[in-house]
């Protein structure tokens, strides 16, 4: 029996690699939508992923694009008229193709995996570009929405109403059992 805490402690100290989903978790599809990429007329905003499957997308207002924290999706601002680097023959677009362009990581805070019990299947983060200058791109996260596999929005109540009720039931049961035990003790005493 004494080996159980040792094993648990050992595992506790091992940080899981980024691409391994811990038991009880599932991956969710992550998307980002930019509200105002056309507000900055001198620039063309592009989202690119350099690791894993290659994605280069010209960002349109209100149109979601795939985001991956694992593969490092980055937003680039290219001066208008610049040819957008694109993949040929399904080959990955190297990061060097984007060298010298302004870039920023989307401010996405939602985890890439959620509890396997969660109805959440897709997460959409809406961001806004506050400034593009030679200093860089400034982004602001506006909201994060969660959707189930049918595309319905998932609210806080839907996620936690049943588990919350179960916790209350458990607490009530424990209090009842504790009281009954004390009553028995008093009767016997």
């Amino acid at each position: 029996m004494n080996f159980v805490p040792t094993i648990l402690l050992g595992l506790c100290l091992i940080a899981p690699p980024r691409d391994i989903t811990a038991p009880g978790f599932k991956k969710v599809t992550h998307q980002v939508v930019v509200e105002n990429p056309k507000e900055f007329e001198d620039w063309l905003v592009v989202a690119a992923t350099h690791l894993g499957p290659s994605h280069v997308t010209v960002v349109e207002p209100g149109v979601p694009f795939s985001y991956s924290s694992k593969y490092g999706t980055v937003l680039y601002a290219l001066p208008q008229g610049t040819a957008v680097p694109s993949s040929q023959d399904n080959r990955r677009v190297p990061r060097s193709e984007f060298e010298g362009f302004l870039s920023a990581s989307p401010p996405v805070t939602h985890p890439s995996a959620v509890s396997s019990m969660s109805p959440v299947d897709r997460v959409l983060t809406t961001i806004r570009i506050t400034n593009i200058s030679n200093e860089g791109i400034e982004l602001e996260a506006l909201r994060t929405q969660e959707f189930d596999s049918d595309g319905e929005s998932v609210g806080w109540l839907r996620i936690w109403a049943i588990p919350g009720g179960i916790v209350l039931l458990g607490i009530a049961g424990l209090v009842f059992l504790r009281r009954r035990r004390r009553r028995r003790k008093t009767t016997q005493g």
Binding site: M1, V4, P5, I7, L8, L11, C12, P16, A22, P23, G24, F25, P111, V114, S115, S116, M117, S118, I159, W160, I162, P163, G164, I166, V167, L169, G170, I171, G173, L174, L177, R178, R180, R181
Partner: protein, 103 residues
């Protein structure tokens, strides 16, 4: 339903482990206590895994569950401290192992 299914599987696994630990002669009310303890800790652990404290990670949360269940066994049952600790360790050790095996 997925949630209730995993809760049900956890309770059954912990009841079986407790039955083995007490060789089929558990203290009075132990089955009900195990059920109620899991009704309390399982959704909270799920919230910690899914909620804003996601960064806490799987193993620290498992440790918190283990300590919480140990405290609850001490509070509600007649078990000695060492027996309550063994019960919490054994039941949670088993369900942690199951969580890696089951989809």
């Amino acid at each position: 339903m997925i949630y209730l299914g995993t809760l049900f599987a956890t309770v059954i696994a912990e009841l079986l482990v407790a039955a083995l630990l007490f060789k089929g002669r558990p203290p009075k009310d132990l089955w009900t206590v195990i059920l109620c303890v899991n009704l309390c800790t399982h959704p909270v652990a799920s919230f910690l895994l899914n909620g804003p404290w996601h960064g806490l990670g799987f193993w620290p949360i498992e440790w918190l569950v283990l300590l919480a269940e140990f405290a609850m066994y001490l509070w509600v049952t007649h078990l000695k401290t060492s027996r309550a600790a063994y019960l919490s360790l054994a039941t949670n050790g088993c369900t942690v192992a199951l969580s890696f095996l089951l989809p």
